[in-house]
């Protein structure tokens, strides 16, 4: 008899855990803040800049490219931040990788594909060094990568001045003609589609000069393809694989992760390398598109990446975040930055607007995160 009452006293479900409706459950996710922000930003610009060409194909490619740029470095910064670390050397790494490619091709005459591979290997080696130092010294990655922000920037200016007496090295486009890897970064895809769209009158055509008759948008830049590929890769890695679980664990609680056998050091070092790799993708696309590299490229890009990630709902202290959110953060960033130009807003107000968005996003994200994780 006593046993049966005992059974009855323990209900099947804890009466204090409120049931969540499936809709609410589907909505409450790390990206929610970024999704709301994206919708809001688009409504805002459709309302005030509809007729400015912002949503014509040319305009879309414009802010799409800028967003894609942010997204490429945001994916790296996002995974690294979830793993509990920062990389402030991203911007300097962009300048460094670009100069390496330009120097090797233009100045020293190596084939472009070789220069690109060397740039990637160098960048990832420096990323690994960043990670190694953070782990070995136990210093905050904030400090270690801040040091590399200066080291890399200084080194970049030094080597370009020392070898060419200039800080801008041009002529990469000419020496990269027909190179297999150059097209992978600087080219465009789906050109045929745009010629067809132009013939239909959906996309405008050039009216003067040697390119008259060609569509004004002649393809999707590889930059966007890379961004998309990195977002998909990052998202699957983080949410669908064992390694993704280790990234969360490494950032959530290093010690707890170590105790259950997660190779925290390896995860963190790999994420530093991934971040450096993303910076190099950014740099290579830029160098191949513009045909030149400059020692001051990528200035402050590390903060833009971090801002995108934070708008996307990631926690600055690690262990929580979403690649899709970071990508949406990058989209918001790009749309706002270029959209304010389209809207004709005084450009100095861009920072004000960005600050407001950042603040609102973080407040909203904190609120959502508390709902999910039960933090108090």
């Amino acid at each position: 008899m006593a046993d049966t009452t005992q059974q009855a006293a323990v209900p099947d479900k804890d009466e204090r855990v409120r049931e969540m409706s499936p809709l609410r459950k589907a909505l409450i996710r790390p990206e929610l803040g970024a999704i709301c922000g994206t919708i809001l930003v688009f409504f805002f610009f459709i309302a005030i800049a509809r007729d400015s060409g912002m949503f014509a194909p040319e305009g879309i490619v414009n802010w799409g490219t800028v967003s894609a740029q942010f997204a490429i470095i945001a994916v790296g910064a996002c995974l690294l931040m979830i793993a509990g670390e920062f990389d402030l050397s991203v911007g300097s790494m962009i300048g460094f990788s670009g100069i390496i490619i330009a120097l090797m091709t233009v100045q020293w005459g190596y084939p472009t594909w070789f220069a690109i591979i060397v740039a990637f290997m160098l960048a990832m080696a420096i990323g690994a060094l960043n990670g190694y130092l953070v782990i070995k010294t136990g210093l905050p990655s904030f400090i270690v990568t801040l040091a590399f922000l200066y080291i890399l920037r200084g080194l970049t200016i030094f080597i370009s001045i020392a070898t060419t007496r200039k800080t801008i090295i041009g002529g990469v486009r000419e020496v990269s003609e027909g190179d297999p890897l150059a097209g992978l970064f600087g080219g465009k895809v789906l050109s045929g589609v745009f010629v067809w769209l132009a013939d239909l009158g959906i996309v405008g055509k050039f009216v003067a000069g040697p390119r008259a008759g060609q569509p004004v948008v002649d393809g999707v830049p590889m930059l966007m393809v890379w961004a998309l590929a990195l977002i998909i890769f990052g998202h699957i890695l983080l949410t669908r694989t064992r390694f993704g679980n280790w990234i969360f664990a490494a950032g959530g609680d290093t010690q707890a992760a170590r105790y259950v056998g997660v190779p925290v050091n390896r995860v963190k070092i790999l994420m530093f390398m991934f971040s450096a790799m993303c910076a190099t993708v950014f740099a290579t696309c830029q160098v191949m598109e513009f045909g030149s590299a400059a020692a001051d490229r990528g200035l402050l890009k590390e903060f833009e990446a971090i801002i995108s990630v934070v708008i996307g709902g990631a926690l600055l202290t690690g262990g929580y975040g979403s690649v899709v959110g970071a990508a949406l953060g990058a989209l918001i960033f790009g749309v706002v930055q270029q959209g304010l130009f389209f809207a004709g807003v005084e450009s100095s107000l861009f920072r004000v607007f960005l600050g407001v968005i950042l603040l609102l996003a973080v407040i909203l994200n904190t609120y959502i995160r508390r709902m999910i994780t039960g933090e108090r």
């Binding site: 709301c36 809001l40 409504f43 805002f44 309302a47 005030i48 800049a49 400015s52 060409g53 912002m54 040319e58 305009g59 490619v61 414009n62 802010w63 490219t65 200016i157 001045i161 007496r165 200039k166 800080t167 801008i168 041009g170 486009r173 405008g204 050039f206 009216v207 003067a208 000069g209 390119r211 008259a212 004004v216 830029q286 598109e289 513009f290 045909g291 030149s292 400059a294 020692a295 001051d296 490229r297 990528g298 200035l299 402050l300 270029q338 130009f341 389209f342 809207a343 004709g344 807003v345 450009s347 100095s348 107000l349 861009f350 920072r351 407001v356 609102l360 909203l364 609120y367 959502i368």
Partner: protein, 313 residues
């Protein structure tokens, strides 16, 4: 959460009020510079386009990459041409980066005038109507010749914008006129006044035989003035600078600065707006590029210049 969305909406409304002028009547031109937000020299150009805009009854927007990153500047030019203005005015801070977006704008049928940085030749290659500026190397060389005549043998070139090729050209021209090879005399001073000042002081301490200084604009000239003042070397070193400001003007009056090379930026902002407006309205356009400078400002003609220094001069 509702509250937050409301706040965001309120912010959105507040901002939409600021954007109304974009769709005023009259032609719309966009001026894209390469200067970071911190560069005060561009105020003169901002003022000049405001004056020209008022006089012509057109609207001129000023755009610049906040950090001075030229790749960002290329995106801004692409954006400008996507918004279909009646004309684009842009600097050619880096031909490789900017020639693509600028010639795309030309191909779209948008008239382009290049100003300030860049050469006439580059401007032609892009397909721009003209270039309004000052040949940098020649201006530097002119400064160097004056310095040489004053007996300068060892010099310092304070470069606050080392990543702009035009700035290196200036130092190069100066060095060539004096007849020395350009090397360590060109320092990368950065944009921060305190930093520039201490770098100049350190250089002068390490190179006591320096008898000539060239600064490339107010950004580097003002801290250099302060550095000379503090080390008691004011007036003992031949000091030439590019561009004008009220501090530079008073430096010239008190004999600390020998001369300022005036590229007359007012014209670089004003003329393109006038020319583009006339092109849009009546289809008339001058056939040649315009050299807005160099003009040398010395003690003899300073009175006239000083009145408007930093504003229109």
């Amino acid at each position: 959460m509702k509250k937050i969305v409301m706040t965001m909406a309120a912010a959105a409304v507040a901002f939409s009020g600021l954007t109304a002028p974009a769709f005023a009547d009259g032609e719309r031109f966009v001026l894209v510079s390469h200067a970071p937000d911190s560069d005060s020299w561009w105020n003169t150009i901002k003022n000049s386009i405001a004056v020209a805009g008022d006089q012509m009854g057109v609207e001129v927007e000023y755009r610049n990459p906040p950090t001075g990153d030229l790749a960002d500047m290329a995106r801004i030019i692409e954006q400008a041409s996507a918004s279909n203005p009646d004309g684009i005015i842009a600097t050619i801070a880096d031909y490789d980066v900017l020639s693509g977006p600028l010639s795309d704008a030309v191909a779209k049928g948008i008239p382009v005038i290049t100003i300030n940085s860049g050469t006439e030749e580059q401007s032609k290659k892009i397909g721009a109507l003209m270039h309004v500026g000052q040949p940098e190397y020649d201006a530097g060389k002119g400064a160097g010749e004056k310095a040489k005549a004053a007996g300068v043998t060892n010099f310092l070139c304070v470069n606050h914008y080392i990543t702009n090729p035009a700035s290196v050209e200036r130092c190069q021209g100066y060095a060539d006129a004096i007849g020395v090879e350009l090397g360590g005399q060109m320092i990368d001073s950065g944009q921060d006044p305190a930093e520039i000042k201490s770098k100049v002081m350190a250089y002068l301490q390490g190179h006591p035989d320096t008898n000539g200084i060239l600064t490339l604009g107010p950004t580097s000239a003002h801290p250099t003035l302060a550095a000379l003042e503090e080390t008691g070397k004011s007036g003992t070193i031949h000091f030439g600078t590019f561009d004008l400001s009220s501090e530079i003007a008073s430096g010239i009056k008190s004999d600390v600065i020998a001369f300022a090379i005036d590229q007359q930026p007012y014209l670089q902002g004003y003329l393109p707006v006038v020319i583009l407006t006339n092109l849009a309205r009546y289809g008339v356009v001058p056939g040649n590029s315009i050299n807005s400078g160099p003009g040398f400002v010395t003690e003899s003609n300073i009175e006239l210049v000083e009145k408007y220094a930093g504003e229109y001069r």
